[in-house]
């Protein structure tokens, strides 16, 4: 942790800036979606038009304030994308992987999170609107958010392939396969475009209760691994230096002392 204190003054300040913003962004994003706007866990896909009117009325100010904050801060999602793009550029693979990842995630921002912000704001700002139209906005909000699938699918596969081909040791191989798990969440969410009820619906056992924890785990893991990458990075282009001594293991007696 001592290296982190002067992080924003040293030669790795751009990397540390990106890492701290990534942590802050995901933290804030979770708070806004779960606690302020309360759109996670998602609403019920089977609500009748009148029920969606009640749904909007129930969380009107939460939606308006929460999504206004996303309208201010949403652009900072680019920082995590930039850091991951850098991690791929730091590998021994072609830059094509890095640029593919950057473009996939950058352009997905509009359908992936702008649409839910716009739809929910439009719904909340006119509670007197025709219930059928309110239901349409409700559908647009949730389905665009959970149903913008290709980016995470192809993006995760691009990152996975880069990690598995990399010879610079930027990430451990097992994390390559964890990307596959994240990609699979986008496969099993596809039926939420078809089913309004049951495990496959977007609020269902698979659609929400398996997918969101997998995404949460994946995000937590890559945040830790990115930190590890920044600590080891020599800002060069070749293989990354070995990881620093593990702080948890170092607390125990050294292995040599224990065996001799």
């Amino acid at each position: 942790m001592t290296s982190d204190k002067s992080a924003l003054a040293g030669p790795k300040r751009e990397l540390w800036f990106a890492w701290y913003v990534t942590v802050a962004f995901y933290g804030l994003y979770s708070v806004i979606f779960f606690a302020v706007a309360r759109v996670q866990p998602p609403g019920r896909p089977w609500l009748a038009p009148d029920q969606t009117v009640d749904w909007f009325a129930d969380r009107r100010w939460g939606l308006l304030i929460g999504f206004a904050l996303i309208f201010v801060l949403g652009g900072f999602s680019a920082v995590a994308i930039a850091l991951i793009t850098y991690s791929i550029r730091r590998m021994s693979v072609s830059p094509v992987f890095a640029y593919s990842y950057l473009i996939l995630y950058a352009v997905s921002a509009v359908p992936g999170f702008m649409f839910i912000c716009v739809a929910m704001t439009c719904g909340a700002m006119r509670p007197e609107r025709d219930p059928v139209v309110q239901q349409w906005l409700y559908d647009l909000g949730f389905l665009s958010f959970v149903g913008t699938m290709g980016v995470f699918l192809i993006g995760s596969l691009v990152w996975m392939m880069a990690i598995l081909l990399d010879k610079n040791g930027v990430f451990p191989t097992w994390f390559g396969y964890l990307n596959l798990c994240n990609a699979l969440t986008e496969v099993v969410i596809a039926p939420s475009w078809i089913f309004q009820r049951g495990v496959l619906a977007y609020n269902g056992a698979i659609g929400f209760w398996v997918n969101v924890p997998v995404f949460g785990l994946y995000t937590t893991v890559f945040i830790i691994l990115l930190r590890n990458l920044i600590q080891r990075d020599d800002l060069g282009t070749g293989p990354l230096p070995e990881p620093p001594p593990d702080v948890w293991r170092r607390a125990r007696p050294p292995v040599e002392a224990a065996t001799s």
């Binding site: 990106a18 206004a68 652009g75 730091r90 352009v107 139209v133």
Partner: protein, 231 residues
């Protein structure tokens, strides 16, 4: 040569944006968020041609900002940074910022496509257009702040952009932020037709394009410093 051609497109871009702005009858004065569905439907029926032509113009040319933003991103290579992270940040938001504007033109054109549609649906398209146009600023806010940080961290004797450009970008970001709250009210300075959300925000964007174009010109000639990273 190629970069100079792209650079000078900022002049026709500004002219076309101002022309589109004056042509669209919903900007001077901006359509009120308090207008009823019937009033909004009437607006599209009365000024149909001007709505269509101005929004086709914006649909064509709002994304013309992207090549100019790429000129800025390319200049960032010459900054005394150790990594390309901030350049990737700028590229990451440079596409989405104009695409959000493009999306709002689609909703305006959709409203104008069938002016005899039910007024409730015209009102919906109008709301989607105005909220996307007004609140869709997160990428611009982030762009200004990324540039400000990149300029502050450009530690060399002859930085790519003068230092004051960093403060200018922070100022523009602050001027744009109130527009994000336009959904919260239908009247006052924060409403989508209000002083902050409409006039300050749009004039700030116009000012940003002109000032960045002016500081970009000498930067095009800037020689890459030896200390700059190569990743």
């Amino acid at each position: 040569m190629g970069e100079r051609i792209i650079y000078w497109t900022w002049v026709p871009l500004v002219v076309i944006w101002i022309a589109g702005f004056l042509l669209f009858p919903g900007f001077i004065p901006p359509v009120s968020p308090k207008a009823s569905a019937a009033e909004v439907a009437d607006f599209y029926r009365q000024d149909l041609s001007r709505v269509r032509y101005s929004m086709i113009l914006f649909n064509w040319f709002c994304v013309a900002l992207i090549p100019i933003l790429m000129l800025i991103a390319e200049r960032m290579r010459a900054m005394a940074h150790r990594t390309p992270i901030l350049r990737y940040c700028v590229i990451g938001v440079a596409g989405a910022a104009p695409i959000a504007f493009l999306t709002s033109t689609v909703f305006w054109l959709l409203a104008a496509f069938r002016p005899d549609r039910s007024p409730d649906l015209t009102l919906l398209c109008n709301d989607l257009a105005w909220i996307t146009f007004t609140c869709g600023v997160p990428f611009l806010v982030a762009l200004c702040l990324f540039l400000a940080l990149a300029i502050v961290w450009d530690d060399q004797e002859q930085p790519v952009f003068p230092r004051w450009v960093a403060a200018f970008n922070v100022g523009i970001a602050l001027a744009i932020i109130p527009a994000a709250f336009a959904g919260l009210t239908k009247s006052g300075v924060f409403a989508w037709d209000g002083f902050l959300s409409f006039w300050v925000k749009n004039l700030a964007i116009a000012l940003w394009i002109v000032v960045m174009a002016v500081v970009l010109r000498p930067a095009l000639e800037h020689n890459r410093s030896e200390s700059a990273a190569t990743v």
